[in-house]
């Protein structure tokens, strides 16, 4: 042996006497997780990350008195600083690409990257909504093709593409319903019926349009109570709003009868299509008697949720409601594709306009890419796998947690309540927060309102069996810990997330909705 290196680094960790030793770091960082200040604390007031060509700065005397004189208050970052700032922030988020994201009613499925690539083709991304229609034939063709897929999948004759999200779609549907009643001279209908299990957007939308909202009772097995519905229907009812599959994850068995009773009373059937993922390609709402249904492209058709939008909420409509659909209408004839943007011709009875321009084109291209990728057969498999995965969750957790509706299969999501936590000192919230420590995003909590301490798990079809097993294994272990009295594991959880539990009361009592320079001064003085 020659030239032995005696100054090299140790290659084995030293065994520490107390391996649980933890100390707050000196910088606030935790290993790879940086403690990142606000833009306003790191940016420079004279710094920019965008270079513009030299151009004469022309100020016109016409604008005198209209020009800014004071600083705006917008700090800038160079490009490398911007990359660091936002990449550091990104690392404080959970994401589908990281692990299962089992939010019930939200359909957090994989977002294919081909969708992103297609939406960014310059022919879609870099075209103006008001270019002459002869120069955007392909863009209108995307709308027309998407409309064809949506109509075929739902078995409905018409679709309004422009609503920008599910709630916007609900508004669109109810406006079409109101217009249809008004066209018949039937303006006395002032009531919308909806089950208590409905999404909050349903009553909010109905009230928005000026309808009084009345609850429909629920049966013991989690469905619409037909007798109650029948009793409440009448000449004063404009519409019912029923989610199907409903928010308990159950298919409304009596859906055809619900539609029949509704129509017999002269009312329309609005179906909340948030849970369409459970039946896409396998059941057509048009075969069930639905008059209007919004489809969240950001749920069933995989356009990314993006931290809270943008979404898209096209609404399929029955023959009775189609004439009232909002502008613009997409038309297709021998001369090609066109947009009808005025209340004339076919669209003479339109109830109006939901938004400027034509809707969420960027979401249309993504959703259509997704549909074409799956095809009719793949979409049917989507529904089957989504339902299979949810039932697998229900079957493998049913003995340690309490399923709210244990009898019979669920659809795309499994609903549990907090009966099984009674006496443990652990609440639904505590349990959810402990899931964070185990690397999972919690399920939807405390919704729907019809069961106590609700936990609504929607795995979606894009989870592998291995990931489901990992999830089930973790939840079983947590459930057993709760029952074994390990309350401290839950009460302060999460312990390992970027932040501990946040004080929502403080945020609401003393709202601080923006950064202000004075806050910084006060902080420095502390």
């Amino acid at each position: 042996m020659s030239s032995m290196n005696t100054v090299g680094r140790p290659t084995r960790p030293e065994a520490l006497p107390d391996s649980d030793y933890k100390h707050p770091t000196l910088t606030g960082a935790r290993g790879l997780l940086q403690d990142e200040p606000l833009l306003f604390e790191v940016g420079g007031w004279d710094k920019t990350g965008v270079d513009f060509p030299d151009a004469p700065a022309e100020t016109s005397h016409e604008l005198e008195g209209l020009l800014r004189t004071a600083p705006i208050g917008l700090p800038g970052l160079s490009e490398p600083e911007a990359m660091r700032h936002y990449v550091r922030l990104s690392q404080k988020n959970h994401a589908i690409d990281l692990a299962i994201y089992p939010l019930g009613s939200c359909t957090m499925k994989h977002n294919p990257r081909l969708n992103e690539r297609m939406a960014r083709l310059p022919g879609f991304a870099d075209v103006h909504p008001l270019q002459p229609q002869s120069t955007v034939q392909g863009a209108i063709q995307v709308m027309d093709t998407l409309a064809h897929w949506l109509k075929t999948l739902t078995g409905m004759p018409a679709v309004a593409l422009s609503p920008k999200a599910g709630a916007h779609g609900e508004l669109c549907g109810l406006l079409a319903i109101r217009a249809a009643h008004e066209a018949k001279g039937d303006a006395a209908r002032r009531v919308v019926l909806a089950p208590i299990s409905a999404h909050g957007t349903n009553p909010a939308t109905a009230a928005f349009v000026g309808y009084d909202v009345q609850d429909i009772a629920q049966t013991a097995d989690g469905r619409v109570d037909l007798a109650d519905l029948e009793a409440k229907l009448g000449p004063h009812v404009a519409a019912i709003m029923v989610t199907n599959p409903n928010t308990c994850g159950l298919f409304e068995r009596d859906i055809v009868e619900i539609a029949r009773l509704t129509h017999a009373a002269g009312a329309y059937f609005y179906c909340d299509g948030a849970n369409f993922n459970a039946i896409v390609g396998r059941v057509r709402p048009g075969d069930l008697g639905v008059d209007a249904m919004h489809i969240n492209l950001h749920k069933t058709f995989s356009t990314p949720h993006g931290g809270g939008g943008p979404g898209a909420g096209p609404v399929v409509l029955s023959e009775a409601l189609a004439p009232f659909a909002p502008k613009p209408w997409v038309l297709h004839d021998d001369n090609g594709f066109s947009l009808l943007e005025e209340s004339e011709g076919d669209a003479a009875h339109t109830f109006g306009r939901m938004c400027a321009f034509h809707g969420q084109m960027g979401m249309f291209t993504r959703a259509l890419t997704y549909m074409m990728s799956h095809g009719a057969d793949g979409l049917k498999q989507v529904a089957e796998d989504a339902v299979l995965n949810a039932n697998y969750i229900k079957a493998t957790l049913g003995d340690v947690m309490s399923a709210s509706f244990p009898d019979g299969p669920c659809m795309h999501e499994a609903l549990f309540d907090d009966t099984w936590l009674e006496g443990t000192g652990v609440t639904t919230l505590d349990f959810a927060k402990a899931m964070i420590d185990e690397g999972f995003h919690p399920m939807t909590m405390y919704f729907p309102l019809v069961v106590h301490g609700a936990m609504l798990i929607e795995p979606t079809e894009t989870e592998s069996k291995a990931e489901l097993d990992r999830f089930v294994h973790a939840l079983r272990a947590l459930a057993e810990a709760a029952k074994a009295g390990e309350v401290e594991r839950f009460k302060g959880a999460p312990f390992h997330a970027p932040m501990k539990r946040l004080d929502e009361t403080l945020a609401a009592r003393k709202p601080k909705l923006r950064w202000r320079p004075v806050d910084a001064v006060a902080m420095a003085a502390e």
């Binding site: 929502e504 009361t505 609401a508 009592r509």
Partner: protein
């Protein structure tokens, strides 16, 4: 001076032709930390059962109904800066409004403290 209660968990204390209205400790506890209170404008007239005030916690928002009819003569504006008073002393500093009572007989339909406590036991 006597205090009466409603099934919606409001309390009302009547002194002569004036009444003070608030929510009960049970209601405050159910709401959780109160973060915002909207008190009525002075001069507003309410009929028994009308919305009188709004109380919000982080997780819920509730209307507070007038237990009896009257005209608002005073509102607890201090709750604007200190909504937590509703949790700390729902029947002391946490009152919402004082009314000039227009139909004194309406209190007869309300519960007294013993009846309210019995009612709570059934929930």
């Amino acid at each position: 001076m006597s205090t009466y209660f409603t099934k919606d968990h409001e309390w009302v204390t009547v002194e002569g032709d004036h009444a003070t209205v608030g929510i009960t400790a049970y209601a405050a506890d159910q709401l959780g930390d109160v973060v915002f209170v909207e008190v009525p404008e002075i001069g507003k007239t309410v009929t028994k059962g009308d919305p009188l005030a709004v109380v919000e916690s982080v997780k819920a928002a509730s209307d507070v109904y007038a237990p009896i009819s009257g005209e608002v003569v005073e509102a607890n504006s201090g709750l604007g800066d200190a909504p937590e008073t509703v949790n700390a002393g729902p029947e002391i500093g946490g009152w919402f409004a004082r009314l000039k009572v227009t139909k004194p007989s309406e209190v007869e339909a309300l519960m007294d403290r013993a009846a309210y406590e019995e009612f709570l036991g059934t929930l």
